[in-house]
Symmetry: C2
Subunit: 448 residues, 2 copies
């Protein structure tokens, strides 16, 4: 049976198509589906492992572990995964693996306790054992464990300063990993000498797997020198807690950098596999569209930037197709994946996906051949319960009739209320997964 996502006013071909495409995406990115598909593709067998442990952290921990248990059954000897407090769907179905809840997004002692449990179990694994690690977004905060001389407050101060400095995710990770007792591959070091296999559901755009959950089990491409370079660049030496500065200086002064770099012993018997990321989502969307008879063009899987400006560029490409038959002939389904940002200037309600759709609307007003829809793959776009919105010329007309001014709503970052009024919000419910955001644009034929 083809799953669909309810799309408002799905009485046109475009909206029916969106419904099916979104259904296919939500189905494909579900943590259980993603892990199952990986097992199938690999025809995976743990081989001659003595005991199999499962360790993990992230919002999709339970769902991913359920699949591992379903596939390996009583070969699973035990383990522990960390999930977000309150996110315990499926916990009762687990047979072998323990679940620890911890605070998210602001870490507290529960995260330290959880991280220590992971390290304890990791240490129990011997040379003949296998540790399967299930890693997903949120895993970094959920397993916050400061290096011995540091506290959670120290790390929070670091995070705040880096945020204010405008440091990139790469710079932030370089610092974080060198202040942690579990990130940057240190969980893998604890697992060693056992073999380990990491199954990673990635919510990170345009960065390596080491950026997911601060790379608990993968090599750290940065060094103490890189971490210190960030301190220098943003002139943080005087503003960071003394303990942090001392810790980094100590790391620098050691004869051998203690970073777990690629090639370290910890990864000799380890393997990291991405079971799902934005690529999975765009490919699921493309496959679904093709099955419905649409040609497809995946424009990008690394979209970033201000939602409103991204909307303009993507919609302008759709308009070029309608009016000039280039760079593609219509009909075509355009697909883009990534993660935009919204610079908040108003006090309305919305999310980056809804805002992108609202910002595109003025270009769609006179274009009956174009329908644009957005999807936060976790099903939760910003602080709303909508996953995204769908926008087309009829949306514009409904707004005109209701005397809603799209521009005012946009200026107030009030995309949720706008689309609530026009009836164009998309609800998937929480998908339990997160592989970032999708934009789908159908350009071309309509049957009514």
């Amino acid at each position: 049976m083809v799953k669909t996502v309810p799309i408002p006013k799905a009485n046109t071909e475009h909206r029916r198509t969106m419904s099916a495409i979104f259904g296919a995406v939500v189905e494909a990115i579900a943590p259980q589906s993603a892990v199952e598909r990986w097992f199938d593709a690999e025809d995976y067998d743990p081989g001659e492992a003595n005991r199999v442990f499962v360790l993990g952290a992230g919002k999709a921990s339970i769902a991913m572990t359920l699949t591992v248990e379903a596939r390996l059954g009583d070969r699973v000897a035990g383990g522990v995964v960390v999930t977000r407090r309150g996110d315990d769907a499926g916990v009762d179905e687990l047979q072998y693996v323990e679940v620890v809840e911890a605070a998210h997004p602001v870490p507290d002692e529960s995260c330290e306790t959880a991280a220590r449990r992971l390290l304890e179990v990791a240490e129990q694994a011997g040379e003949d054992d296998l540790v399967i690690c299930v890693i997903s977004g949120g895993g970094s905060a959920l397993t916050t464990l400061p290096a011995p001389s540091l506290s959670i407050e120290h790390l929070q101060r670091v995070t705040k300063l880096l945020l204010e400095s405008g440091a990139t995710i790469v710079e932030t990770n370089a610092m974080r990993k060198h202040l942690s007792a579990i990130a940057g591959g240190r969980l893998a070091a604890a697992i060693e000498p056992a073999r380990h296999l990491s199954l990673i559901l990635s919510d990170v755009i345009g960065a390596g797997v080491d950026a997911v959950a601060s790379g608990l089990t993968v090599a750290d491409p940065t060094t103490f020198h890189d971490a210190w370079a960030v301190v220098d660049k943003f002139e943080l030496a005087d503003r960071l807690p003394t303990a942090v500065v001392d810790h980094l200086r100590a790391g620098l002064s050691r004869e051998v950098d203690e970073t777990l770099s690629p090639g370290a012993e910890a990864f000799r018997r380890g393997r990291a596999c991405v079971v799902g990321d934005v690529e999975l989502a765009v490919c699921a969307a493309a496959e679904s569209a093709r099955n419905l008879g649409w040609d497809t063009a995946i424009l990008s899987t690394t979209i970033d930037g201000e939602a409103g400006d991204v909307a303009g560029v993507l919609a302008s490409i759709a308009q070029e197709i309608v009016h000039r038959g280039r760079p593609f002939q219509p009909p075509i389904c355009l697909i883009a994946g990534g993660e935009t940002t919204v610079t908040v200037t108003g006090n309305g309600r919305g999310g980056r996906n809804q805002e992108l759709a609202l910002a595109a609307l003025h270009r769609l007003a006179g274009e009956p051949q174009i329908t644009l829809a957005t999807l936060a793959t976790d099903g939760i776009d910003g602080p709303t319960d909508a996953a995204g919105a769908i926008a087309d010329a009829p949306t514009w007309q409904r707004a005109q009739q209701a005397e809603l001014d799209p521009k005012s709503y946009l200026q107030n970052n009030d995309s949720f209320r706008f689309f609530e009024e026009t009836g164009d919000l998309i609800f998937t419910g929480a998908t339990g997964s997160n592989v970032n955001d999708l934009v789908i644009i159908l350009v071309g034929h309509r049957d009514e």
Copy 2:
């Protein structure tokens, strides 16, 4: 002979290609080439016209008129064109048409005088005469002529209020045209009963020809009601000069709206032709690239939005091509046209084209197969004498070597100084034309 634009460090295939493409674009958009090409394509003959007058306004007035004189010779009985004060290149070569200089961009009395001269000559043309109007960007300010009860100061106040309100170009034009004695087709009304032909070099993106030079000779799609709707929408009634409000109210209260709408007598014997716009520029770029063996994809001719965010989307598409072979197989030349904006936060020097290239640079750092270049087709990008910049991985390397931080320069809107240091500015000199901006991205093979 193939013309080229000097591109810095043009020792790679990509840079040599850019040099040829930009040369072809600059050649194609030159006002004289554009008008010549139109004459050729139309195999134009003024027919049995008794006298031929030339009227016109805009920065390209003289160059366009030179071509009309060259083609029609002594069939030109006279005329007058308005150019920007000091922009008198070629004036000595004109034989039949008078040139009036006026203030730009801030209008003063010289603009009123110039506009009155245009109307005077227009009134002289009789039923058997033909008036050829050469219209280009800047023509609106250069021919500022308030309606009888209004002053230039009134119009300046209106412009300021609309700018502060965030009114769109369509809204601004609706107001302007209903406060003018020459815009919104009123020059055509003065020409009538003579025939008229408007040759338009368009610097307007995604709007009709009525938006170029406030539509001196073309029908006004808006009415007094539309103008008043703008007053209402931005609650300007109490802030506008009383004379302006009275003028609009008088227009509203007349039994017949005096707007020169499509279908008005003034346009019965008139014709408006776009001889050049961003379409001409992207097509010239595409043809040049194809001649050099590149496949091409014109992504859009209506790009807008913040330069930095547009850069991200366009570069992300180029990266998708390199890493995934989609939505196109490399090698390919991507082309986009439009006009971005820059929200100034720093006090550096630069223009939107240079800023776009700088914002793309971090994505190009690790991509030796990608080269991106930008071009302001008037040759003057922002308050600089550069037309744009070229950015690729070697640019990044030179910046690293010189310890230039692209992000800091970007935050300071200092793209000119950045590319001055890396040696990647592009200079074409003033082209005398303006059909907005181009982005060209070469993706794929390199011969070194």
